[in-house]
Each structure stands twice: as C-alpha cells, then as structure tokens.
C-alpha cells in the first residue's frame, strides 16, 4: 500500500480532525464546527473548504504556487481576528501530527509513517507561504485604513489630520530613536 492510497483512505478523517483542531482555536468552536452552511457560518465554512483543498494539494505533492488560493481563504480571516501571527498560522502545522497519528494507529499503514518526508516538506512550504500571506493581508488592512482616511468619509471638520494625534508622542518617539 503506497502513501497516496494512505492519504485517500484516511483523507476525510484527517481533514475532519484538522478542521476540528483549527476551529478549536475559537471560543465558540461548537457552532463553527456544526453549521455546514457557508453563508450562515463563514468562519467554519471557509476554514473547512480551505483546509480540504489544501490537504488535497499537500498530499499529492502539488506545486506550492497552488497553495495560495486555499491559504488566502484561511489566512485572510485569521489575519483580522484576535490572534498573534503565530496563532493565526499554527493550526496549519497540525496536519503533520494528525497524519502521523492516523497512520500510526492503522496496522496496515503503519509503515507509511516513515515515508512522510515529502508531505511534511510541503506542509513546511505551506506554513512559510502562510506567513507571507498573513503579512500581505495585514498590509492590505493598513491600505484600507489609509484609503478610508483619504476618501473624506472619515473627516469630521474640526478633527485634525490623524497624524496630528501623534504630535504629543512624537517628541517622545524622536527622543527614544535618538537615544536621548
């Protein structure tokens, strides 16, 4: 039995466990897990869809370029939730452990544990890509802020330019920078 068969055989179980693990990082994971309508449950729905797609790619040693779409689906959401960057990305890593656990518990496929090098390398690449995507989305968020301020939607006449709010602190910042 080769590793591709192993991934096919245990695929659903692995993805479910991965989704469960990822959603357990939310306080109300029960609802996020249970509701399958993507529009009634956008966090659960998108994370599930993204992880499903990503798992297929990882398990068939796909071109890492292809990771981008499912990673964006997952990370764009986690980048605006109250996670540290590490917390936002970490659940991706979990799939390594979940796969090992699934193979190790299966007598017929135990030997596949030794053949996971390529798969785990793909996961590493995905995690690295996820950090880049995380940063892209954070940058986009800052651009959104700037665009909003520039659009005039933000202006309340006697408010000053937002940068002026820094005024008081500026001197302090400059001092720190100059080491005074």
């Amino acid at each position: 039995m080769d590793i591709a068969e192993g991934f096919r055989f245990h695929g659903d179980k692995i993805v479910n466990r991965w989704v469960e693990y990822t959603l357990s990082t939310y306080t109300s994971s029960g609802f996020f897990l249970k509701e399958r309508d993507k529009f009634a449950n956008p966090v659960g729905g998108n994370l599930r869809e993204g992880l499903q797609k990503l798992f297929l790619l990882l398990s068939r040693d796909a071109d890492p370029q292809e990771f981008t779409a499912p990673l964006e689906q997952i990370i764009s959401i986690r980048a605006v939730q109250e996670f540290t960057p590490g917390q936002a990305v970490a659940p991706l890593n979990a799939v390594k452990h979940i796969v090992r656990e699934a193979f190790a518990a299966d007598k017929e496929r135990q030997h596949l544990v030794g053949e996971l090098y390529d798969f785990e390398f793909s996961v590493d690449l995905a995690v690295i890509a996820a950090f880049d995507i995380y940063m892209q989305y954070r940058e986009r968020l800052y651009q959104v802020r700037i665009a909003e301020i520039k659009s005039g939607n933000h202006i309340l006449t006697d408010s000053k330019c937002p940068s002026s709010m820094l005024d008081g602190d500026n001197k302090k910042i400059i001092k720190t920078v100059n080491g005074i």
């Binding site: 109300s28 109250e82 986009r140 005039g152 006449t157 006697d158």
Partner: protein, 543 residues
C-alpha cells in the same frame, strides 16, 4: 508520539490569547472580565465635544473628562451606580418594550448564531442573547423578586465597575442591525437593548468620539461633517458642474427656497465623500429629468441621525430639525435620499417623538399623481419608492446599456430592510437599469447581514473588528463575484457606501460600491444631453 506533540503545539500557540478569539472558556461568562487593548475599542469622546453637547438645550451628556478605557480608573462620577440603576428604573417605566424584552426571553438560543459579530469573532458575549443578558442580569438583581432572593442562581448579578466595562465593550460591538430579532420567536429586539445600554452609559459619561462628534456637529451646523451652510452649498454646486461637464445637462438647484413643493434631505456624506458623491450627482440628474420642484436645505443638511446611537433625546432633537425646516420653508412634504438610520428614525420613532407632522401634506408624486399612503403620517417618501413609481408609470427613459460595464448585486442595508420594509422597491429599480444578481438567500432581504460598521462604528481604530464583523456580508459578496462576475455592490445607505468600500477593499477589492440612484442616473436618457460618446458610463469616466 504524535498526540503529545499536537498538544504541545496547542499549548505553545493557543495559550493566553484574549477572550474574543482563543481561549476555551472554563469559567462562567459572567466571571470573565473584559480587557481593553488598542484596537478593541473605539476612541472615547473628546472632552470639549461632551461639554458642548451637555450645554445644549434638550440634551444631557454629563461627566466630560479625559479618560481611557485602558485605564483602571474610568473617572466615574460620584454615585455612578445609583445613577445607572435609577436610569434603568426610569427607562423600564418609560419604554414598555424594554420591560417586555427584559422579562420574556426564554433563552431558546434561536438568535445566538445570527449576529455578524458572533459569526466573525466566535465570542459568546456577542451572541445576542448574552448581549442582552449583560443588562438583564442587572435587571434581575435589582428589579425582580427572584433575583433579589436567589441572585446568581437565576442569572442575577450586582452592578459593578467590571459589569459597566463589559457593557461598554459589547454595546459597541453591536451595530443595532436587528438581524437577531428576525429569528426571535418573541420578537425581542436586541438592538433596542443595546440602545438602552448606550443611553445608560452616557448617564455616567461613557461614549465614543465617532458618534458624539457627529452629533455635536449635527446640532451645531445641521450635518455630521460640521459643514457650514456656504460649504454645503459650494459642494452641491461643484456636483452640478460635474454633472454638466459629464452630460451636457445643467441641473437646476436651489437652497432654502420657500414655497418649493418638496424638501430633499440626504446624508451629508453624499455631497462630500466618494463614492456617495456619484449618488448625489444621480439625484441631481434624476430630479432634472423629471423637472421636480424641490429645494435643498443648508440647515437640514443631514439625513443621518447620529442621535439614534446615543440616546432618545439627541435622536429626537436631530430628527425634529428636519421637520422644523420643512415647516419653515412651507414645503408639502419631504423626499429622503438613500440613507440607513434616517429611515429607521423616521419610520419607527418619529411619529411618537415629534409627529404627527400635520403641518405637511400627505405626499403625492407631482409627476405620477401617486399618493404615498405609507408615508401619510411621517410625510417623508423614500427616493427608491419615488423612483420605482416613476418607472412604473413610464416617466423615465433608460438606456440600460450605459451600465453594461457593471454586473451588480444588491446589499439590503439593515435599516431600510428591517426597520422600514423597503425591500422590493430598490430591486424593481435595479431591474430596469442594470444587469444584476442576488446574493445567497440567507444573506439578503430581512436576513441581510450588516456591513459590520453601522451605528457609528465606522472608525478606523477598530478596523480589524469591522473587518471580522463584516465577514458574513463580504463572504456573500465574494461568492457572487466568483460565481457571476459581480463587480459592483449597490445599496441605499450612505454609511454603507463608505463602510462597504473598506470592507470590499479588504475582502474583495475587485468589487466597487455604488448607490442605486447612481445607476439610475447613469442610464437616464435626457434631451439635449451630450454624453453619447461616453462608452463606459458616468462613474468610469470620473475614475
């Protein structure tokens, strides 16, 4: 070997996140205190704004001071607890609905997963039922016999500083969108509970600047931007010039004109900021095309009622101003532009606060003769119903192909959809002017998802919060973008035009935002116009 590693992974990354997003609560929700960190709260109202508002007749905004939610000491006034409890008692007597909402929830949970703040954060305190419990627990403790005797066992708790802080956190993570109320078998409107929480907080000087500054501007100059009459006039005149250079037609306009048949009021953002500007240009073109006898007012220069987000006194005062101006000018009735909360106030509260507006006439369309019976008491007609009626009677000539570069979808703004039932009129209008598709069923009409930034939460210091609260809306937009190639999100609300722009810029930058009247005006064919050469339509040329 792998299982312990997985646990280790969880421990090393999931430890110590804030309540809102990571930790699995092992304690009762009541025991988990809120924590204010940058980005988790909107900036508090500036001292001078609060002082100014407090000095105005009919308004009360006490305890102006410098303070920060991140400080332990919120500098509450002496006897703050009594002030809050007395305030609650007064409101229980004054608003029958509040008393009912406090008593009749059976905690069935039907509303729990319907709030976009909950869906975006997973924070249980953003379940509408728990949001209401924040107030209900105090109500039980001090105003019910069971609560007095049994206390925590029946979900009662004492009013403390930490409860007050929780109120502030979660009454400003509710956009008063009323989606939850659609699903409640008892019709409990959590939005009104949030309104009460915010009212009570104002009694002790807790409020945010993005709301109180617009209220103070509206009180002072008539619009939330604080534009003075001449600036407001200049801006509309600029738009007239733009329309003329784009179409060759110069719309006739007038300001504060006594004896005009109709007073037109729209959110001031429409005459000042993108993309609302294009909607305002749309109004100008539309009214010109039908030769409407109407006037703008430089005093009632704001439709949006930011008072709604503070307390009923401020809401009443700002609403009254529109009617006072209509009376002063001697118009027959008011035509209102594309706005959200203006319509909620007009439709739900105006009559009992300031109405009935007997000095105005029952609205009749001067072009079609249609009598707007639905507005018989409020004397205010929505631009979408007005336009739909014009179309129905064949009074407008369209060239739909002018919008052929657009594949639109329609966002039901919470207030028009759920607070006044304006659902089919904008759709009827869209059918005639643009190619468009609906978003999924459970995200539109009465079940529409909020933009995530309503009720004065569209301030940029809480951008992440806005993006996650707007996710359910954005998720549906993304779906129709991917499936049908939608590139424009149309709506009938000025706040939406601003907030959905930011929301799309983050989630689906390929999709723009526009007002329905922008699309209408783009398709209108008029005599003597010179825009035949424009291939890409009005908006595209402006870009």
């Amino acid at each position: 070997m792998s299982v312990p590693k997985l646990e280790q992974l969880s421990q090393s990354v999931v430890q110590g996140p804030s309540l809102a997003a990571g930790a699995i609560p092992t304690r009762d929700w009541m025991d988990i205190p809120v924590k204010f960190t940058p980005g988790s709260y909107a900036y508090v109202a500036k001292k001078d704004k609060v002082e100014y508002l407090n000095s105005q007749s009919g308004l009360s905004f006490p305890n102006a001071r410098e303070w920060s939610p991140e400080d332990d000491d919120w500098k509450l006034p002496e006897g703050w607890k009594e002030i809050i409890l007395k305030g609650l008692q007064e409101r229980l007597g004054k608003f029958r609905s509040l008393k009912i909402f406090m008593d009749c929830c059976v905690r069935c949970g039907a509303c729990a997963d319907k709030c976009h703040f909950f869906l975006g954060t997973g924070d249980p305190k953003n379940m509408p039922v728990l949001r209401a419990e924040l107030l209900r627990s105090v109500y039980r403790n001090d105003f019910t016999l069971g609560g007095k005797i049994l206390g925590k066992m029946v979900g009662a708790r004492e009013m403390t500083v930490s409860v007050l802080k929780e109120w502030f956190m979660y009454s400003y993570q509710c956009t008063e969108c009323r989606r939850c109320s659609v699903f409640c078998p008892y019709g409990i409107d959590t939005a009104e509970i949030t309104m009460m929480l915010r009212e009570l907080l104002h009694l002790v000087g807790i409020g945010i600047n993005w709301i109180l500054e617009p209220v103070s501007n509206s009180n002072r100059t008539g619009n939330h931007m604080g534009l003075q009459p001449h600036t407001f006039k200049d801006n509309v005149e600029f738009l007239v010039e733009d329309v003329e250079s784009l179409t060759g037609v110069k719309p006739n306009i007038s300001f504060n004109r006594k004896g005009a048949e109709i007073l037109f009021i729209t959110p001031s953002a429409d005459v000042f900021a993108e993309p609302g500007l294009y909607t305002a240009m749309g109004y100008l073109l539309l009214f010109e095309a039908i030769g409407l006898d109407y006037t703008w007012s430089t005093y009632a220069s704001e439709g949006g009622n930011f008072g709604l987000f503070t307390n009923n006194e401020a809401m009443k005062k700002l609403n009254a101003k529109m009617y006072a101006e209509a009376e002063r000018l001697g118009v027959k009735y008011i035509l209102g532009g594309e706005c959200g909360h203006m319509w909620r106030v007009v439709h739900q509260y105006m009559d009992t606060m300031n109405g009935p507006a007997d000095f105005l006439e029952k609205p009749v369309s001067p072009i079609t003769g249609t009598v707007f019976e639905n507005a018989a008491s409020s004397k205010m007609v929505h631009i979408s119903e007005f336009t739909a009626d014009l179309i129905k009677h064949g009074k407008l000539k369209f060239d739909k192909s002018r919008n052929s570069h657009i594949k639109a979808t329609f966002h039901d703004s919470c207030n028009p959809a759920r607070a006044m039932g304006l659902i089919d009129e904008p759709r009827y209008v869209l059918d005639h002017v643009v190619d468009w598709v609906e978003m999924p069923e459970n995200t539109i009409r009465e079940q529409t998802f909020c933009c995530g930034s309503g009720t004065g939460l569209n301030t940029d210091e809480i951008m992440e919060l806005r993006m996650r609260a707007g996710l359910p809306r954005a998720n549906a937009v993304k779906y129709v973008h991917e499936k049908h190639g939608v590139n424009m999100l149309s709506c009938v609300c000025a706040i939406d035009r601003a907030t959905l722009t930011s929301l799309n810029d983050y989630w689906t930058p390929e999709v723009g935002v526009c007002g329905v009247t922008e699309l209408v005006a783009n398709a209108i064919v008029q005599e003597d116009e010179t825009r035949g050469e424009l291939e890409e339509g009005l908006r595209t040329m402006v870009f």
